[in-house]
Amino acid sequence: MSEMSMNTASGADGAAAQPQLREVPAVRMEAVYKHYGDFTALNEVDLKVARGEKIVVCGPSGSGKSTLIRCINHIEKHDEGLIYVNGIELDHQRKNIDAVRRDTGMVFQSFNLFPHMTVLENCILAPMTVSGMSEAEAKDLAMHFLTKVRIPDQAEKFPGQLSGGQQQRVAIARALCMRPKIMLFDEPTSALDPEMVKEVLETMKKLAEEGMTMLCVTHEMGFAREVADRIVFMNEGKVVEQAAPEEFFKNPKSERARTFLDQIIH
């Protein structure tokens, strides 16, 4: 709320507000809690992501990584605390939730493509029904992004006819068709056969190079080293540690992060 008011400031305040406006973070979470019954899945999480920043979220299974990322586009409702996305407060109001979801794209571990639609139909559904594009416009846009993820020739196929890696690239293209400002990835390569991981990571790297703001839950530490500006390490619902990749991999501060890294880097 306070951040949006900068936007509407006018006159003499305008000049002073300008530099600050650019600093409105892509995501700001303050003391966010999420409970499932008695279980605390997010425990006082604070997180700030600048525009254009690439964050890799890692941590042991069950530490709340998915919950964190799913609260950002309100697929899970947080119980306490504040979440701002591009200055819009996620306060459970329909119009704010819709605004946030239009600004964010999400890629799931299990792809979640619509199996009864072709690749092209998957990509044009939201542009046509949400953004009100004509079919021709939406198809042009979809082909643009399908070309970008290097599968324009699969446009007329159904998801079930594609390999896992191809499906995940379609899922990325489908999200990009809504021209999101932030991309959320929840273990995008965990369900893939090893030989397909690379093609998906390459696509994500390209996206990162173009300046997309990205939050990515992944255990691909090579990707994290190369692409991430910052690693966020979670354990038992808390953000335990945040550091640049070199720093995090060389000398993790917490004992928990050290044992975690030992396990996955063997």
Partner: protein, 243 residues
């Protein structure tokens, strides 16, 4: 009268009086399916609602109508309700009974169809900021419907035959008119052979329709298991969907 006369059976088959009964049977079935689907959708939505009153009512409704014979339901509506001053025409009584009964079965089919669509599908739709209506109409409904077709088909097959119970409350559908012919001519086997043939024709036609529906809505699914070659036309991917 000591033997079966095929000629008489064929004559009954082409008897106009009986044919009109067939039309009534078809009409009852179609109306009960449409009414039952609309009401059943509502009952299913209530059943899936988080409101305990709505889901409780729906639970009770399904329990009641699936737990009592359609015959009793029809007789109560036809001869019982007038005692309370509620009176409908014969055909309305039959339709009300069939629709109320069918809705209970269809509600469970509709509900299990929607429950079988994975949560990830809805989440993907939300993440794309699709409206609730578009999510329902374009994402969940088509997938749920595909899963509903086989049980829906069975239920409609049963309903088609269950319309014969309306004969008890004097609706002149196929069964009732067979009875009437039989009582007039006493050619029991010949009349019922004609009626049986009609029921078989109706259920077989419905079977064929059901197969076509399954093939049509299963096209993307069949593709999943068959990994159709790049050049194969997608439209053919549904062939052989039923294993």
């Amino acid at each position: 009268m000591s033997h079966f006369s095929p000629t008489a059976a064929v004559n009954y088959f082409f008897n106009y009086f009986l044919m009109k009964g067939v039309l009534v049977t078809i009409g009852l079935t179609v109306a009960a399916v449409i009414g039952g689907l609309i009401l059943g959708m509502g009952i299913a939505l209530m059943r899936m609602s988080s409101n305990p009153v709505l889901s409780g009512f729906s639970r009770f409704y399904i329990w009641f109508f699936r737990g009592t014979p359609l015959l009793i339901q029809l007789v109560v509506i036809y001869s019982g309700l007038p005692q309370l001053g509620i009176k409908f025409s014969v055909i309305t009584c039959a339709l009300v009974g069939l629709i109320l009964n069918e809705a209970a079965y269809l509600a469970e089919i509709v509900r299990s169809g929607f429950m079988a669509v994975s949560a990830g599908q809805r989440e993907a739709a939300w993440a794309l900021s699709l409206s609730p209506w578009v999510t329902f109409r374009r994402v969940t409904l088509p997938q749920a419907f595909r899963l509903m077709i086989p049980p829906l088909g069975n239920s409609i097959n049963s309903l088609l035959k269950a319309t014969s119970l309306a004969s008890v409350i004097s609706v002149e559908e196929l069964m009732r008119r067979s009875d009437m012919l039989m009582q007039e001519h006493f050619q029991i086997l010949e009349v019922y052979a004609a009626a049986t043939a009609y029921y078989l024709i109706l259920t077989s036609v419905w079977d064929a329709v059901q197969r076509r529906l399954e093939k049509h809505f299963g096209r993307s699914n069949a593709a999943k298991t068959r990994r159709v070659a790049a050049s194969a036309p997608v439209a053919q991917a549904g062939v052989g969907a039923r294993a």
